[in-house]
Amino acid sequence: MKQRLITVANAIVVFAALLILWQLVLWTFHVPPFMLPPPVAVARALVARFPSLLASFAITAEESAGGLAASIVFGVLIALVFAQSRWVRRMLYPYTLLLQTVPIVAIAPLILMWVGGGTPAVTLIAFIISLAPVIANTTQGLVSVDENLVHLFLMHNATPAQVLFKLRLPHAVPSLFVGIRIACGIAVIGAITGELYAGSARVGQGGLGYSILYASSQLQTDYLFALVLAAVVLGFAFVFVVMFFEWYFLHKWHASARAPETA
């Protein structure tokens, strides 16, 4: 507990130091506020436009969560197919690399054309770019079961379904969570990037990415900073939620979930 308080205190001190440094840079180099607004202006913009900020935050959160949820569902299903044989993996695995390397910016116009703008398009983008880590980690977990455990199951005449659901799948849960932890950060980034291109179908109100684009075009740099801050908070929130579930499901039996402060 004390250790954690010290960690939090350290983080606050670093944050305060950064704010002071920021202010010093402004005073020393006379930077115009539309290029770099003072911290106070950012705070003021944050308070003054909180309702619309919150609305953008909610939209992006919904899109990221939708993309992430789809990644988890489809990622696990695909991993279950991959786990069936080395042959299937050899044949299909290269295509998961494609998911990671496809420049999302380049296919954004296509996605817009297929599903229209707004939330569906952005959710789809968040899904595409966060899928690969779920597939890769879950597959790894499914196939890395100790050979003797498989033998043990065979000795008791276990069916293939029993080996899958009573052995491979539970064994893959810690790796699945590693995948989800990576995917959740990517999903948020994907949603925000997606919004820059796929924008919003709702008139006057878009997610964080859309609002960032709009604020920069209006030279509302103080609000832009507030939006960036909101994006950071959103990313953190996702990671914390995932870490909570990881702890909830694994702390009883798995070492990785017992000491988050050292992770």
Partner: protein, 261 residues
């Protein structure tokens, strides 16, 4: 020896085993293990001890020759066979109780019969107080006891053990050796036991088979006919020492010959 005990549990008829693109692991093994025997396999690395267990369990098939277990093919006999590995191989996400009940669960036993059986077995191995603990909370010796309880839960007629105590400290090892003998006295299963320790083999077995490597074959067979009860006092008796010395010598000859070749 009664009629039932004299029946063969395992028969090897000129069994050879070669894994793809490797040297011969086992060559022309002929071996009969009778019901009620406790047979230890001992020999240097690469002599195919573990392969013998894999063949008996049907986890791998012989390249040539025939194996019967209880008069059946190894795969068909699995129902009455349990396997204990060098690691405890527990499922870390299941509490002790559910690990012990795993075999019964896979074989489709009802929940109530499972709970009854696991409770009995946990008592038998002295672990009823950790029934709800997870494997990571247990010591190495306790994990192995859970593994033994799990193997016995399905009422096996034949128990295959692949160096089950090799990773334990000497004290836990000696204690578990005595426990294995006590359980066997109660439940009368046949055992095939792989080990590197001559003393352990002598303490547990009714018969000891010394294997030589490259290719694996039977070098010598020793009957263990020790007087009195098998308890810690036995380990200090002169007959025990004598047999250990004799078998160690045979084992050393195997190793020396191997080096000369």
């Amino acid at each position: 020896m009664s009629e039932a005990l004299a029946a063969p549990q395992i028969e090897f008829h000129s069994v050879s085993k070669r894994y793809a693109n490797t040297a011969m692991i086992l060559e022309e093994i002929d071996l009969t293990i009778l019901k009620g025997e406790f047979v230890s396999l001992i020999g240097p690395s690469g002599c195919g001890k573990s392969t013998v267990l894999k063949l008996i369990s049907g986890l791998t098939a012989p390249t040539s020759g025939a194996i019967t277990v209880d008069g059946m093919t190894p795969k068909n006999a699995r129902e009455s066979v349990s396997y204990i590995f060098q690691d405890a191989t527990l499922l870390p996400w299941r509490p002790v109780q559910q690990n012990v009940g795993l075999g019964l669960e896979l074989e489709g036993a009802s929940r109530t019969s499972r709970e009854e059986k696991t409770a009995t077995l946990l008592k038998l191995v002295g672990l009823e107080h950790v029934a709800n603990a997870y494997p990571r909370e247990l010591s190495g010796g306790m994990k192995m006891r859970v593994s033994i309880a799990r193997a016995l839960a399905t009422n096996p007629k034949l128990l295959l053990m692949d160096e089950p105590f090799a990773a334990l400290d000497e004290m836990s090892r000696d204690r578990l050796n005595e426990e294995i003998l006590r359980l066997r006295a109660e439940q009368k299963w046949t055992a095939v036991f792989v080990t590197h320790s001559v003393e352990e083999a002598v303490f547990l077995s009714t018969r000891i088979i010394v294997l030589a490597p490259n290719p694996g074959r039977i070098r010598a067979i020793f009957s263990v006919d020790l007087p009195g009860k098998r308890d810690s006092a036995l380990r200090e008796s002169p007959q025990f020492d004598e047999l250990v010395t004799k078998i160690s010598r045979a084992l050393r000859e195997v190793v020396v010959q191997e080096m000369v070749q």
